[in-house]
Amino acid sequence: MTRDVGYWIGFAVVLALLTAAPLVLPEFWRRFATEILIWGLLAMSSDILIGYTGMVSFGHSAFFGLGMYGAAAALLGVRPPSLWLAIVSGLVGAGVVAVFVAYFSTRLRDIYFSITTLVFSQIFYVVIFTWTEVTGGENGLSFRQPPFAIPGVVSAAFTPVTLHWFVLGVVTLSYLVLRRVTQSPFGKVLQAIRENEARTRAIGYPIERFKIVAVMLSGLFAGLAGVLYAIQNKFAAPDFVFFAVSGEVVIFNVMGGMGTLVGPVAGAAFFLLLREGLSRFFTEYYLIPVGIIFTLMVMFVPQGLLGFLRRRLNP
């Protein structure tokens, strides 16, 4: 019980810090904080698959990207631009991809699944990159930021501060939902699948159904992250569908600690801060030390930062 209380106190502290952040930080770091939250959400969504169900997805950029483009479609197609429509549209976009991936997840295991997710995200990348009439091709799409509007109650344009709070709200809510899910019996079954799929199946669980739900969940939240990114930055570009984004997400998961939800968020923050710091010295070669650290962590600290800290704190 005391650990639980400790956890919620910690949670409240972090939340308070994140809420206060945009008020005290300079412009650059304000945006940075918001971005960490968005990538954190993406990392959490990926953790559902990698950390909890044991399915390595190398294609999360597809969910993210389609969430982004889905939001773009709504913001460009409907006047005046509606925030909620953008969210719904983005989720639908990501959801459609998730359905496909979910189908394959039930028929393929391990490496075959990972390679397929990789190929999938590349298919979307190529289509988006070359279908210039619809997607803007290489240059992507840019659009206006929608206002925060509840019909009949309020309509106000976002300021960097209020946008940050909106993102914080969405991400926090997502975190609480995902936390509830992973701690539920459903979440326990997912972990059982990761530990020993054959045995879990033998006990009688319909593995396929669990995997489908896991993929849908993961895909939708990843798409939500894409929507938030689109709203924050007011553009959608094929770069975000490219494999590199998927790769970075995997890095967040491993470095932060798979299967912990909070870990990947910390991993995202850690990576982005590392990148910021290292690129002062290494410029674009920051990935060399980061890549080395990552590989070493895969080999020696597979439980990630969080797992490592946990061990230190509970000897």
Partner: protein, 292 residues
């Protein structure tokens, strides 16, 4: 509104497809050998191709000899592969495949950026050793392309012979089929693993050098090869050497034909579709005789 495609174009694309297919086969056979013997899906395989191309380009620039560049690149990258495997992958033997794919992914990041650091952002050139063309239907077709296909085939043939005869061939095949009994028979399995990885790396480097005159040498070329090689290895059957060679040609032909109707950038989707269909209907591989 169907535009009939002249038969000559199809035939030319067939030749093109076979040429690219043979280069891809060099890459894919290394990858499938490595997977077959140590269950490692080498995400960094494409970067080995890229590094081979760069070493080749640098050697060519300083010595002027294509063949010296070719041999140097293959040997250097083979050696590098051996060191890489012994230091990072050997300790991971026995851990779940998730770990090795993540580790090789991390390595691919490092290698890609290392190339950027070592050779700078601009592309390199590798001059083809055989200039001159011959008349192929309506085109002046470069001899070099044909030579590449033949040369790649020769290398694969040599690999096949090596595996069929000789002590190391037996060691490799035994260790691939049953790692534990091979060890119990006195075969130094860890050494065999390193040997196979080195061979795979060397072949990847070789294909990088061969590809150089055709497609250029850039730091980002690796990912494309990794992706294609993965597709081919799955379509051909993981661990199946003959299958991956056939699949390389098959997939390359598909892409070549596809680029008759769509742009080359979009033609890659043909190989993606081939993968998806294979996974749906014959997941053990299109060219595997009986699905197990």
């Amino acid at each position: 509104m169907t535009v009939p495609i002249p038969i000559e174009q199809i035939l030319v694309q067939t030749v093109n497809g076979i040429v690219s297919g043979m280069i891809l086969a060099l890459v894919a056979s290394g990858l499938t050998l490595i997977f077959g013997i140590m269950d490692v899906v080498n995400f960094a395989h494409g970067e080995l191709v890229m590094l081979g191309a760069f070493v080749g380009a640098t050697t060519l620039a300083s010595t002027g000899s294509f063949w010296l560049a070719f041999v140097t690149a293959a040997l250097v990258i083979a050696l590098f592969g051996a060191v890489l495997q012994a230091s990072t992958l050997r300790p991971l033997l026995g851990r779940d495949p998730l770990t090795t794919i993540l580790a090789t992914f991390g390595i691919s990041l490092v290698l890609q950026k290392y190339a950027l650091w070592q050779w700078g952002p601009s592309a390199r050139k590798i001059q083809e050793p055989i200039t001159g063309q011959f008349h192929l239907f309506y085109l002046e077709y470069p001899w070099y392309r044909v030579a590449t296909a033949i040369f790649a085939a020769a290398i694969i043939g040599a690999l096949w012979l090596f595996l069929r005869r000789g002590k190391y061939g037996i060691w490799i095949r035994a260790a691939t089929q049953d790692r534990i009994m091979a060890s119990a028979m006195g075969i130094p399995v860890p050494l065999v693993h390193t040997l196979v990885f080195a061979i795979g790396a060397g072949m990847a480097a070789a294909s990088g050098v061969l590809f150089g005159p055709l497609g250029g040498v850039t730091q980002t070329m690796g990912f494309d090869f990794t992706l294609r090689a993965f597709i081919v290895v799955v379509v051909g059957g993981m661990g199946n050497l003959g299958g991956s060679i056939l699949a390389s040609i098959f997939v390359s032909l598909l892409e070549a034909y596809a680029s008759l109707v769509v742009s080359p950038a979009q033609a890659v989707i043909a190989s993606f579709v081939a993968l998806i269909l294979t996974l749906l209907f014959r997941p053990t591989g299109l060219f595997v005789p009986t699905p197990k």
